[in-house]
Amino acid sequence: MSADPAEAQNAAPHQDAARPRLSPARVLDVDPLLDDPKTRIVVCCGAGGVGKTTTAAALGLRAAERGRKVVVLTIDPAKRLAQSMGIDSLDNVPRRVKGTEGDGELHAMMLDMKRTFDEVVEAHADRERAAAILANPFYQSLSAGFAGTQEYMAMEKLGQLRAKDEWDLIVVDTPPSRSALDFLDAPKRLGSFLDGRLIRLLTAPAKLGGRAGMAFLNVGMSMMTGTLGKLLGGQLLKDVQTFVAAMDTTFGGFRTRADATYKLLQAPGTAFLVVAAPERDALREAAYFVERLAAEDMPLMGLVLNRVHGSGAGRLSAERALAAAENLEDPRIVDQGDGKAGLRNSPDTYGSSGTHAAEEPARPATETAAQPTAETTAEAEAPSAAETAATASAEGSPADTERSVDRLTAGLLRLHADRMQLLSREQRTRGRFTARHPEVAVVEVPALPGDVHDLVGLRDIGDRLAAGRPEHT
């Protein structure tokens, strides 16, 4: 039997998929950016659940352990992560994180959006007026979670931290939202709404009425406030009016404020990191975001492809693994192996240890299944006496044990086939992104078997973020 044609057929198409780490067009190395004193703000963006918070915390820790004084602003971190960083108390100020290595410092906090909003009000109004605003029912529902409030307040907090100038580097996590773009758009949307034409009209109909030509509008307005009043309840509308009037005199406009923090994102020293999972939706989202950053002249640091799968047995393709599994599950073949340990070995076509990936004995599935096992094992080496003994001494008769080991091994091979299929899907998805954005540097972070919830885990992620390979192994 000739292994050669099969081998060629086998090696070529699966070589890429087989590589545990996909080779990127450009590899992102985060260290130079984290070390650069000119880098002052790093923003981690991405679709929901992809690993923004984890990445932000890992980057912060890494920068701190490389000597910088860092603050991480996290948003809704998982409870265990918050606890292990000592930021689970909600006081809305950064805390020094204990247990970091090296000379740098890591501070961290989690955003309390209501409290941040309250602080803004308190900072801009005298006590009496502030109290009135804080008590306003419309303000209360606005600050407790209006669409966009969390994004608005994340930007606000970022502005505050930056203004303090206490840290070399601020790493910002972004709120969970469907779209990464929300972080950029929601504050403006909310700002425009609160400063909008309609709210102005509603709050100042008297002023308008004084001007010639506006009388018509005024009639329209009163009809409208009437209708809206009926719909919304007169009180709600009054609350909105009072709120806007009070904020106006103290706050100087929501839109202006949103614009000011937005500018911070365009300032030199700010870099964006897009986080995505190697899935179609997440990468499409990432592509939109990359395009938007380019349009806004905001610098993109690169893409973190998080939770990428690998395999230690990447040279064994899915197809071969499945074929081999079928071999083992075929009772005819198992029967032949029964008790005859000498037959349970097939040749390494090119001998043993020095074998390269491409030199794996490659027999296509169909052929293997069709041929009697004895033929292919003709030149098999006999297993060592110790190995045979070990097999035989396991529970049950040797034949039973062998059968259950075969069943298990078939399972291991099917598991591997699934893994390889996942790997190549991830690679295809990634390929589509790279084709669209070859300019974007990418780093892959493997999917770890468990959650990331302590400094050790964050350090591990940090190591993998630096050039995409673990340092301490």
């Binding site: 419309f138 669409a147 969970p176 469907r178 709404f193 909008g196 309609l198 329209g220 409208m224 209708t227 809206l228 009926k230 719909l231 919304l232 309840g233 709600l236 179609r280 230690g312 047995a313 074929a323 599994a325 071999n327 083992l328 192996g337 349970r344 070995n345 097939s346 390494d348 076509t349 043993s352 240890s353 074998t355 794996e360 004995p361 027999r363 096992t373 292919t376 094992t377 080496e381 297993p383 190995e387 070990a390 097999t391 396991a394 044990t401 259950s404 080991v405 069943r407 298990l408 078939a410 399972g411 291991l412 091979l413 598991l415 591997h416 699934d418 299929q421 899907r425 078997p449 468990g450």
Partner: protein
Amino acid sequence: MSRLQVVSGKGGTGKTTVAAALALALATEGKRTLLVEVEGRQGIAQLFETEALPYEERKIAVAPGGGEVYALAIDPELALLDYLQMFYKLGGAGRALKKLGAIDFATTIAPGLRDVLLTGKACEAVRRKDRSGRFAYDYVVMDAPPTGRITRFLNVNDEVAGLAKIGPIHNQAQAVMRVLKSPETAVHLVTLLEEMPVQETADGIAELRAARLPVGRVIVNMVRPEVLDAADLELVRTVERSSVAQALSAAGLGGARRGGNAEKLVDPLLDQAAEYAERYALEQEQRTVLGELDLPLHELPLLAEGMDLAGLYELATELRKQGLS
């Protein structure tokens, strides 16, 4: 079987997918279903690979056996305008309101109003009859907001209490609540076998029950196939490396002795099995938690090749097999 089937669940667990599959499953054998979207994201259009849906009921699929699935993406602004026309006979003023952004304004500053309009429209479709007195739709399936908001969303009565104590909105809210709190409605929750979504499901059910909203079934989505069972995993921990090497070799994967190709596969394959075992244990734990909820449980497989129309029909068939329709 309740005529209004509401599908909620944690974000990203598959609400839209499951709602669509359910609408297909319920339409089988000549029935007519309406699939309703309330979040304005055109998720249904994307799933059925059609252009964006207008605010209009539209046939989007034919079910096996000749049934029909209609879809509707409810636009709260347009629903509010409809509504104003109906009760206040606004005429041109309605258009002016829209132009000024008043409609958007109203639904924005009073999110409760939006919910009244959305649920109101869905309930209207549930109750609607044709001339012969037959229901226009046999079932209405709603792709609803996520677990965190579902109770508030459906509990429009409470919301509306702060808005309108009398008048048409108030009356409509009452009518809506009569449908939502009756056996005419069932709220299903979609989850994954992961800690956070399962926790959210448990919390969501408690909230729904406290609000006396009818909880239906729990649908576990994206369930991975069981490649190794508990017995296999037990064996993974005790098995001799050398006998696995021999089995691999017997399967034609190279030499079993040290350094042989089959032998070199053993460690990585066992590592993968260990990872699998870790996940398996976590999933079993979550299954136990879900089992304690005392609700009918269903599982839908993870479609390895990703979702497409064919996959959707596959999930619909699976739902039928499991007696959901």
